[in-house]
Subunit: 344 residues, 3 copies
């Protein structure tokens, strides 16, 4: 594809050789001479000198000297994402209800719905226009899935769950399994509490492979518009996840917790139940959050504290043997001083 | 539903307006005026003054003044659990073997067994009376599932696994996949050890979505009666989980460990192999357990120690920069004293 | 089975009663009198005095006195693994393409391929000779699976993924779901980055139940020859896992990280993105790895440090209240000395 065509499709300003023939996109480190790379973070500017790419997407105000051909855009990373689409699109599912799919006559299907082999659509299910259901999915009774949503293979959507428009479930996702709720009986055994609530995924939510979002005991579990969840994430019953929030791989929420908007919980973070995390909070990897967190903080450790304090404490933790040695030496010196005093 | 009817069905003593019409149940915070709430933990008693609920389930000996109508019971939380069932029951599976299910003629099915679309029941499988298998499940050869157990969609029960009565597998559960066992060959590569053992789930066990319970190398992995496992839990080969024990979300057990009865391992707890955890132990979230633990303890941290000690250490950890500063100041002061002594 | 036959099949030197009739194999602790046990780790030598086993596999140069019949081999644990196979082999899948499987006419199947009930094989898929696909699997278009590989039930292999020979996917594994990649739009919402890359599993790789290996944004995610992954492991996009490396249960890698060969990451270890872990590194359970790690180290803690240092620091952490008390007492004593000095 000619670079001038790419620039035009991506709405970029082209500086340099507009006749370059581009065969694909890649990072600065991996790019070959016929590929288009990108520079989003200024700290990697020095890589321009060594990349093999012949053209690079840069910020509108990028000003370092370089002999490379440039595509300027206000958002280089987003432009790179769009560039990938010029060279690759995943294979699409056949435009049909596959004869091996088991679709209840009591389900309502919108226009252009595609259902692949061996998927099961139960009574009362509603699938909006252009919904795509890959093979081996199970959609339980009365679940609703909004227009243009994609349900990858081997997913489960449980009874009464509501999924918005343009949502994506990666493979093996379970939405709406029973929450972990039991009442203790007098003999010490557990009585299962019927989980009568639902799960709501608002529009533009994506859930990663093998993640599990539990239905509420009463009421609902809600993942708000634009939130993105990675693989193997668990969201306990009656939790609320805010708009555009990111939950990275293997994050776990116990239940009834409210996570604000634009929050990032990095990998393996754990969140206790019945607490509130404010907007824009960032928790670094493996953080354990036992209590509510004010908005706009970066937190770390377990129990979580402000990140810079934690970094200092963690650095001292690693030197605790030295600190203990210093303390013991000081004890010895003070004892010696005390001995001399007594002598006096 | 009339409150007097509810009181009668839940075996409660009613104090107040028995003619109240109740439309549902809810927590004290969320309840509307036509709903029934509950007060189990006395520390929430003050919420009675502000709840919109018109009636509340309380303990038999509850004595605080309130204008609300009361339902008294010795176990308010259990009673609440039963109250939910008066207002909600999940949709039930059609009473049939669905024609798309693939059921071996060599499988033995009890009375009232229901098998949903596209599930696969292999040779030699035994399903007890009233077993329910949702869609897209795979039951490997010679597995046995006891009466009234429920296998939700997209579950796997591997060869020779034994599941008791009234068990529930939430969606995507894998019972009996191979344990993680390899012997090192002379060239440094790994030789797979055939996992010849089984998994036994005793009666009344429930397993959460996408959890995995591995079969033993030899012998068995056993989850004892009434134990409840949450989502994304992993139980390694030859582990034993005691009666009524709770494993919360994303807990992991390495293998060959024995967990006692009435134990609670909170979210993301990790347990090393070949150790024993005594009865009634509670491990708080993210605890790492490398060694055996005596009964009746509350433990935290990694390596796990007694919870109160850990809380103290964790509090000091967060103040380590202050502690280090104090130590340095003390060094300076002692050096000054020593200098003065030398002067003398 | 006669012990002399076992010795011959396992290529062992037999010392003792070659006529023993052996009915099975077991660990030294669990073995019954008609079973064969093994002693691999010399620290368990004392168990020979109390085991009920009548014969034991030991090292070639084993020299402790014992009345038990011995099978000598240079690698006792590997020999034990092979002994299990003499007594147990899992049920095998029928040699057929099950009529309920949905196999694209555009898929290429090698000789002896078996495909079980309700599995879906899409257009352009290539299955090598003797590949076995258990029920309810979904193989997306253009995926390739090498000879003699085993895909257990309810697995997903996504488009263009390449799986080598003799690989094993335990149940519920997802290979090639989309990586977690989004570009921030000007309104704060996330734009999904098409994940155009693939996953490559080289030969002899095994993946545990419900694990998820993400496809790369561009290029590939690669699991090298002989690596073994346990259950519920997540490998982020564009990661590389070295030969014969072990990732234990619930390990998570963020993405674009390179893990060397013969590495062991124990349970629940977390690895940040864009870093390198050298060959032969061992990370103990729950370790958090935010930065690159040199080869041949044992590491622990978060942020990970050398294991012995961490052990010392962790021991002092548990005594921090004592350390703080000592420090306060010392402050008091120094203040007293200073007071006396002033008096002088």
């Amino acid at each position: 594809m000619k670079l001038s065509d790419i620039a035009s499709q991506l709405n970029c300003i082209l500086e340099g050789d507009s006749n370059l023939e581009i065969l694909g996109v890649a990072g600065l480190d991996e790019a070959e001479s016929d590929q288009l790379a990108f520079l989003s973070n200024p700290k990697y500017t020095s890589k321009l000198a060594i990349t093999k790419a012949s053209a690079v997407i840069v910020a509108k105000d990028f000003s370092s000297p370089t002999s490379l051909t440039l595509l300027r855009h206000t958002n280089p990373y987003l432009t790179f994402a769009r560039a990938i689409e010029l060279f690759y699109s995943p294979p699409s599912l056949a435009n049909e209800i596959h004869p091996s799919a088991v679709v209840s006559p009591l389900a309502k299907l919108g226009k252009g719905v595609r259902i692949a082999a061996n998927s099961v659509i139960s009574d009362g299910v509603e699938l909006g226009d252009n919904v795509v259901v890959y093979p081996n999915c199970t959609i339980y009774p009365h679940a609703k899935i909004g227009t243009n949503s994609i349900i990858h293979s081997n997913c489960v959507v449980r009874e009464y769950v509501e999924i918005g428009s343009r949502c994506v479930l990666q493979n093996g996702v379970i939405v709406g399994a029973d929450g972990f709720g039991y009442a203790k009986k007098d003999d010490g055994s557990w009585y299962k509490i019927v989980q009568s609530g639902i799960v709501v995924l608002e529009d533009d939510v994506e859930i990663g492979a093998n993640s599990a979002i539990d239905r509420a005991t009463i009421g609902e579990t809600r993942i708000k518009r634009g939130a993105k969840l990675d693989n193997l994430v668990m969201v306990g019953h009656a939790s609320v996840i805010g708009e555009n929030t990111l939950l990275c791989g293997q994050v776990g929420l116990a239940g009834s917790s409210k996570v604000g908007r634009n929050v990032t919980l990095a990998g393996q973070v754990g969140v206790a139940g019945h607490l509130t995390i404010g907007d824009n909070v960032v928790a670094t990897a493996q953080t354990g959050i036992p209590n509510s967190v004010e908005a706009n903080q970066v937190i770390s450790g377990y129990p979580a504290i402000e990140n810079r304090s934690w970094l200092k404490s963690a650095a001292i933790f690693n030197r605790l043997p030295d600190l203990q040695k210093t303390l013991r030496e000081l004890q010895r010196r003070v004892a010696e001083i005390e001995r001399l005093f007594k002598k006096d």
